[in-house]
């Protein structure tokens, strides 16, 4: 894991720095996402307000930092949901093989053809905009690829001798799966998990942009961009700053994901 390339190291440290800032700065600078100053209104970036303020006079830096935290929080928890479903599904499908595998993979292939983002839109619009529902919905969309990848890995692991000896020793299927196969999928799961995080952040921002994601008084980068669009003619910085921050974060996460992907044995051909 230490052989990660320099680009990957750099982006990992930058992501870490951004996260530290988003946790510490609000305390150091005494920022608040809710404190309004209607008389002040929207002002351009200045020393007082580094990113300017929105129409209600709320500090944009505070809101962007908060949005970063929300994006990462949803990114990590929805990825965790996707990992749990995907790994369980992939392990069972790959390990038991035969008709179980054929059926389970057929289900995945069918699900792939369904326009999932439409269902997420319907889900969020009809079932209420609940924060927990949000990452459950996103996680439920993103598990498909993970399940496929884990299944492929399990298929190759189960051919190896140590699994056969486990069977000879009379270990139960559950024990072999959890103690011997699962740890061997860890590498690929971490790498694809890290590639899933930016996907999740993207989907959350898309939903928040439509007004279906994070609800006020909370905010995420997606909802900030949406608010920026509404007033972009008069106050362009309210659109530009959150957009640039959002693009940069996706960029760093993608670079990190690509660097991790190079560590997998499959890509070293």
């Amino acid at each position: 894991m230490l052989k990660i390339n320099n680009k990957g190291k750099l982006s990992a440290s930058l992501i870490f720095a951004v996260l530290i800032f988003s946790f510490l700065l609000p305390h150091i600078m005494d920022l608040s996402i809710e404190r309004q100053d209607i008389e002040l209104g929207a002002v351009r970036p200045s020393f007082e307000h580094l990113f300017g303020t929105d129409i209600l006079g709320r500090d944009l830096l505070a809101r962007v930092l908060y949005g970063i935290k929300v994006s990462f929080w949803i990114g990590l928890s929805a990825t965790a949901v996707a990992l749990i479903i995907g790994v369980t599904y992939g392990c069972i499908s790959g390990y038991f093989g035969g008709w179980v595998d054929i059926l389970m993979m057929y289900i995945i292939d069918t699900l792939y053809t369904i326009p999932f983002s439409m269902f997420v839109v319907i889900l969020m619009a009809l079932f209420g905009r609940n924060f927990y529902l949000l990452f459950l919905a996103i996680g439920a969309v993103e598990w498909l690829t993970m399940a496929r990848i884990v299944r492929g890995r399990v298929l190759s692991i189960k051919q190896q001798d140590f699994i056969a000896s486990g069977k000879v020793l009379g270990f139960s299927n559950t024990r072999i799966l959890i103690k011997h196969i699962l740890p061997n999928t860890l590498g690929i799961v971490i790498v694809y998990g890290s590639l899933t995080i930016p996907q999740v952040i993207l989907l959350e921002a898309f939903l928040s942009f439509l007004g279906l994601g994070v609800q006020p008084p909370m905010c995420s980068l997606g909802s900030l961009i949406r608010e920026g669009v509404e007033v972009m003619e008069e106050y362009p910085w309210l659109l530009i700053i959150p957009s640039v921050v959002f693009i940069s974060i996706l960029f760093l996460l993608n670079i990190l994901g690509d660097a991790l992907k190079e560590l997998l044995p499959e890509s070293k051909t």
């Binding site: 369904i114 319907i122 949406r226 003619e233």
Partner: protein, 305 residues
């Protein structure tokens, strides 16, 4: 080949049926109804409304009624737009979305493939590294960011192009660019790497040894093989294009089906949601089939059994 297409089309039927069933019950499970937002509706009126739309019947009866109507291509009346049927509304709005999608895809393919060619021709020069870096940044800019930024700079700051409507040709430029932008970056990346890979193959070396020009090798010999990964990317991209249209049509005030879908979900217009989901599912299946067929044409080794 014909057998393969027939088989695929026959497989459409259970897929569409499943999608209709899931969506139908999914929507009805949600709390609240389509008339909740109308304040102060007298109970008698509400009762009449529900009777008119058959909402007072048991769910399974409504489901059977709906399926029978769909088979007759009748998608029912819209709950929120009483003067229209859902089918009329879709016929009105769908062409706009398809037009937008075609422009966006054309833009994405031409820019992506052109840049891919240039970067492969000028390998290891600053031109190629510039194009590659732009591609990496490009895939980090989703529609809902590129759309507003394009509108801000070309529409508002430079005042070059209008940013709303869908009647005049110049109104169609910015939305198409915004929708196609991220796909052009993806296509560029995919095409660049597959082209570089193909260029290392032996038949290309033979072509070079015969003394053919660099551009002839690229266009005639390398591109057919290198286009395959691009075409397989188009399958999933088609579905994403639809999702992108929700955002782009909302930002640029385009009267298309994507904006209609978002509005319908917000208004709980059950029949409209169902109708649009069915149309989208059919579109995606047709699109994927087309991609399959093109792939077979590009690579005769693919068998269709």
């Amino acid at each position: 080949m014909r057998k393969y297409i027939v088989k695929k089309v026959l497989l459409f039927i259970p897929a569409i049926f499943t999608i209709i069933t899931i969506t139908f019950f999914f929507i009805r499970l949600a709390p609240g109804g389509p008339f909740d937002k109308d304040k102060n509706v007298p109970p008698e009126v509400l009762q009449n409304l529900e009777r008119y739309y058959h909402l007072d019947e048991p769910l399974w009866k409504q489901y059977i009624r709906y399926i029978t109507n769909v088979l007759k291509l009748d998608l029912g009346p819209s709950f929120r737009k009483p003067s229209y049927s859902v089918r009329e509304w879709i016929v009105l709005r769908l062409p706009v979305s398809i037009e937008l999608g075609i422009y966006a895809l054309t833009f994405a393919l031409s820019i992506g493939i052109l840049c891919g060619f240039v970067s492969a021709l000028k390998q290891n020069t600053w031109v190629s590294s510039l194009i590659i870096s732009l591609g990496i940044i490009g895939i980090c800019i989703p529609n809902f960011v590129s759309g507003p930024l394009l509108a801000l700079f070309f529409g508002i700051k430079l005042d070059l192009l209008p940013i709303a409507g869908w009647d005049l040709p110049q109104q169609k430029i910015l939305p198409s660019l915004a929708l196609g932008f991220i796909y052009s970056a993806y296509i560029l990346r995919i095409f660049h790497s597959s082209l570089t890979e193909v260029l290392n193959k032996e038949y290309i070396r033979t072509a070079k040894a015969k003394g053919l020009s660099q551009s002839r090798i690229l266009i005639v010999h390398a591109s057919k093989g290198a286009l395959q990964p691009v075409v397989s990317f188009l399958g999933p991209a088609g579905a994403n294009l639809l999702t992108g249209s929700f955002v782009i049509e909302t930002i640029f005030h385009i009267p298309g089906l994507g904006r209609e879908f978002v509005e319908a979900t917000f208004n709980r217009d059950y029949t409209m949601i169902m109708g649009i989901v069915i149309v989208y599912a059919v579109l995606i299946l047709i699109f994927n089939l087309t991609v399959d067929i093109i792939q077979g044409w590009l690579d005769p080794r693919i068998s269709y059994d």
